[in-house]
Subunit: 413 residues, 4 copies
């Protein structure tokens, strides 16, 4: 067992760190000023394009693409999950960093789907512009009226009609759909209700602005709308696209979703480690520099123990994510099934609790946009629901755990 990072991981970690420190951190305030001073919050602050350009020139671009996909597309250095993890963690420290490095959800997941299942034409039209950072995309899965954690509840339909497929349905929490560069969405919908439980759904590629497709309001998450990305409501009314827009063909939606969500979940967890780590740093910094009752906050009440508990929780969560990344690299999503659910059910909560602690140490100011903590709180909290609520993942973990022991003798070793 060797806990030292590989030369590749260390190199990218170090380059990403330097880029964030020298380029992103100093620009963050200006970025938000640009965002606020625009006529519409749903437009891109010019600074973002500058930063993206620099990251691309620095070769810190599409780091998320796994080796085989990097090779196939000619994009990204092709890092394994375990080698990508330290860089992804750093990106999680700053809300705008993932887009700067072209490593942000849901584009990463959509890109992987198109590398794996897209036709040559689809890759030409949608994948390559995405990897070049010229367009953005969204993923339309969750529905407001049903518990979408159970995919069989889904009511949107994608019905074959000659050479076309016709989509009807109501989706929400389509993250990124508010972005002015969002050029296409991937929609999950029901094609054949009589097929096997996991063969009923299709994933369809729909260009933004397709007739019948309407983006409604942008949803707020604990008061945040996350402009210019947004979490939109979308309705599809007889939206008609060519049949070849069904990715990998009808009935393979569930299969694609399973493959898509594993990496997506671990990427979220990697970034959450960075988010929590930064919150701890802010808390530690604050507790040594702010004074009350004649002492630094660190020396009041249980504050030191809270710092220590956060340190322990983050270290454990990070090791858990790294181990899961390694397992995913070694054995694929099926070999890391329980671990992926384990981290998804625990890391967001760790992050939420560390951020909550850091807010408390910052007093009322911690709740405002003067610090990155309030937005971090909303991010961590919403990730206890996004990509499956904690409870569904705990169910997966316990099911696999109980299966191991059903017929065992717990008294041996």
């Amino acid at each position: 067992m060797d806990f030292s990072a590989s030369a590749t991981a260390s190199e990218y970690r170090s380059r990403v760190k330097e880029f964030i420190t020298s380029e992103i951190a100093p620009a963050e305030q200006e970025y938000h000023q640009q965002l606020r001073s625009q006529a519409s919050p749903w437009s891109v602050p010019p600074l973002m394009n500058t930063l993206k350009q620099r990251a691309r020139e620095a070769g810190l671009w599409n780091l998320f693409l796994p080796p085989a996909y990097a090779q196939r597309t000619g994009h990204g250095p092709g890092l394994s999950n375990i080698d990508y993890a330290p860089s992804a963690e750093l990106m999680g420290r700053h809300a705008i960093a993932p887009e700067v490095f072209n490593c942000n959800a849901p584009d990463t997941g959509n890109a992987e789907v198109l590398v794996h299942y897209g036709t040559e034409q689809q890759q030409e039209d949608w994948l390559l512009p995405l990897l070049r950072g010229e367009i953005r995309s969204a993923f339309c899965m969750t529905e407001p009226e049903v518990a979408s954690s159970d995919a069989t509840n889904m009511t949107a339909t994608a019905v074959l009609d000659g050479n076309d497929v016709v989509i009807n349905g109501h989706k929400w929490f389509s993250t990124g759909i508010g972005h002015p560069d969002c050029a296409f969405v991937i929609v999950m919908a029901l094609t054949d209700p009589d097929a096997g439980r996991h063969q009923r759904h299709s994933m369809v590629l729909v260009p933004m602005g397709a007739p019948g497709m309407a983006v409604g309001r942008m949803l707020d998450v604990l008061g945040f709308q996350d402009e210019p990305y947004g979490h939109g409501e979308v309705t599809f009314t007889d939206v008609r696209v060519p049949r070849e827009n069904i990715i990998a063909g009808p009935g393979r939606g569930f299969e694609i979703a399973q493959g898509r969500l594993g990496p997506g979940r671990i990427h979220h967890c990697m970034r959450l480690i960075g988010l929590a780590e930064r919150a701890l740093e802010l808390a530690a910094h604050r507790s040594t520099t702010r004074t009350a009752f004649g002492k630094p906050l660190a020396n009041l009440g249980g504050n030191r123990e809270r710092i220590a508990h956060a340190r322990i929780a983050i270290n454990q969560a990070r090791l858990h994510v790294l181990h899961t990344a390694w397992l995913l690299d070694q054995q694929g999503p099926l070999g890391a099934l329980s671990e992926l659910s384990q981290i998804k059910a625990s890391v967001p909560r760790v992050a939420q609790e560390v951020v909550d602690m850091a807010i408390q140490l910052h007093g009322a100011g911690g709740l405002t946009a003067d610090y990155p903590l309030a937005a971090a709180f909303a991010a961590a909290r919403s990730l206890r629901l996004a990509d499956g609520p904690d409870e569904v993942h705990l169910g997966v973990v316990s099911r696999l755990e109980l299966a191991k022991h059903r017929d065992s003798n717990p008294n041996g070793a």
Copy 2:
């Protein structure tokens, strides 16, 4: 010991309940539409004035004023804390209800200060319009640069100059200052740095718009700005008001603050019980009506236990608040010193956790404004800081507890 509510408490509880059910609950959606459709969010939706008028006509007005103060002002029925508690709890269920009944912070606290310490002229000018609901007010205490939980840290000054007092300083989290009807603020500031620790500060009444007073941005709390009330930043630059605007005279700021905060804290806790209770009701309703994996959510995972734990936590918290209210009525703030800190350090957290649980049961929608839960979350979370962070109150509780046992023999009964 008798846990049945008095006739008075029951009567007001029942009338308030009926008013909320028939007038406020059905109007809530329209109120928010009016709020959103106004040119500025910092203006009063007409519906609010209608509701206030009706509540006043129904005699459900200024219920918070304690008996002696009600008698002195001729306003309100004069309920004791224990009799007010059930009505206040109900008001906590709906964000707009406290204003409808003219029972909202910080006006209630400011009114009590003016009843107790105000001159006849001040009562005429500011108290009576406040009790009639014609104006609103704010309280300027917290400062951004120092830990305001330790009042001796305060840097704003109120210096005597002939017949005037001159105020300089920077405050924030002045709740209610964004309201268009806000007519005055009470400012806490340092008058004599050489006086005893608790005789240095004064409270000064300052009309809105006084020269040198500037309201800056409205702060967001976990993404919410709580329009049209707001939590504003305020600067005072050589703001000059007559010396008689110093409430009760120079150096009595700390004394007034202590008296003001006790009732304010318990009122917050009463309302938080209602907020938590409504969140539990929403959670229970949702868990029996929403289905996933072929079962109502209530029958999945640990959801039932979560409902039960919330029921237990709320019942305990409510009894704790009621007992504190009774103690406050019987023995005054000094007799309830530990209990006031006990509830302030625990009830907001209980509410936060119940709301967090209810959000989780509502899925992603629970994070949006489609349900009252996200705003309730922000309210509960911010009350772990407002009026003193949890940690300061825990410090009070432990100090009083340890003093009891320092010389005791813990082996007797």
Copy 3:
């Protein structure tokens, strides 16, 4: 609402407090020495009989018997639950106190069964000696092979055979059966498997030493055997007693159990409050008198916050128990169904956590018999299982809670 104790409650509280302080607390060490120096731990230290005699003479005897039962038997002052609570709390501070006052489980529950359901002869033979403190008793319900929290699982049988009833079965955790004065047990067993779910079982009175009845080992609970009471294993092999020993007649076992367990559960909770309160006192005393790193423990790390949290938790739990006692007095067990389960599912855990905290402050010594904490820990922990595990009670609470809201509109007040 009136939180002041009644004159009766105050008087008994004060007399019990004085008795414990002057008689029991100083005798505790000698009691344990007598217990340890006896040839068998399963015999009564002479001091116990002295203390019982004094308590009886002081009129502090059978305080648990509710008014109607006190009147019927001529024993005890006839306190309501709410009036008994403060005295019961004090008894919970010292492991030996409940027996001294003839208020210990399971005799209290057995006595109540015999007052309510016993024939005149049974009362003469068993109830009156019990109330005089001449004999002790046990209750045989739990079985090792099945989950006894679900009474329908029970396998022991009580079959009618002419004028006799014949008992077969295997019970354990029959508390008190190790006591040399234990003169009878009440056994719950299956009489008619074809009857309705709640009419199948009978409760049978069996004298100790009945042919076919064998007491096996005494079970240890986290290393403690609780001598001289004990938690015994018992087997019944064709134990034959007269049919009239079936209390209230065949098939009424479930009904009796329901009535018996309510008061038993609340009495446990009352005593646990006292146990937790004493642990907090020990913790507070220790933290101000023990020094490390140049400071009293109270000033190290999060110790003060732990004291404060314990204070809050105990106050809330006490109020919860008192409210439940009042409800039980006002509305009977059915009216307090949820509350009885609420306190049973929460108070033992609060006590366990407060004791755990107190142990930690006492260092390794806290784990030994040098302090009452280790035994208190075992008592609190085992009460999370005794009389129904927490989880079963949480199930009751959530079932009743969900029923309230199934058809409700959670948006009113």
Copy 4:
């Protein structure tokens, strides 16, 4: 980063597993019968010697000795910490396993001290018999009257007197001193109160039975005495031993303690992982095989989530221990200072909570010696105090954490 175990680690893990499964697990019940049927519980059941002999023959002996020490003494295969960890985890599953493999505390720590600091003669006399498993030893550090977590509190003295050193003092929690084979103790005591804070103490080797040394009672830990090892009280009254019995010379006690405790702490944590893992297996097994209310326990209430949470907590704790072991191997105790305290402050609590959960699933039986859970509970709970209470370790973690951030800019990456 590579999470696969080395060939050496895998090989020993697999051999230890096989030995435990085939030799120890089946013998456990008989061992306890022998222990109980002996005239004194403070004697060695013959089975232990048999098992030790077999383990030694199997080459599974002294696995704890690090490479350099193994080489120096010719004992043990010389495993690094990271290679030893999986075997140590397995030993933690069975209370008697560590002694069988000659890997039990405190002998391991004492052996390491003697390898490192002992004279040739001391190694001959005490170390080699210890490594051959012929004798046992104890460590006398903790004192009843003072907070021993602060070594400067220590009151026992080791005063130089000519060629002798004279020891006076009162120690307790000297684990292993009840064992009939215990042949020597290492005592920590104050030699020069005027020396620097970390140069005052000495460690002295004292043969059992030295005149003036008296072993008092064996302390119980949550009701357990852990026979035949025991946790004894010891008094030293003018105990005189040759000056060369001061290990490494006067004043080096603190230095030796620091070096001794690091490995001791991580070994405890390794074993606790195994203890928790076995508790989870028992819980999982129970929850699928026990039925209540017509369902396996796994399908009732929150039981599945509890299983999942335990799985997550154990996996995180294991990774944390492994990472710490690796760091200890790479950088020595100073390089792993925070991590050693992190695991010591968190792993025992994780184990306690998992065991508590498993007990709850086993019902009342879980509290008895019928399952290994009650003893496991006591072991885990006492390790929150042994080798430094959690709070002291949290203090170390926060001190090191705050030092990192005092002068940092938390806004970079």
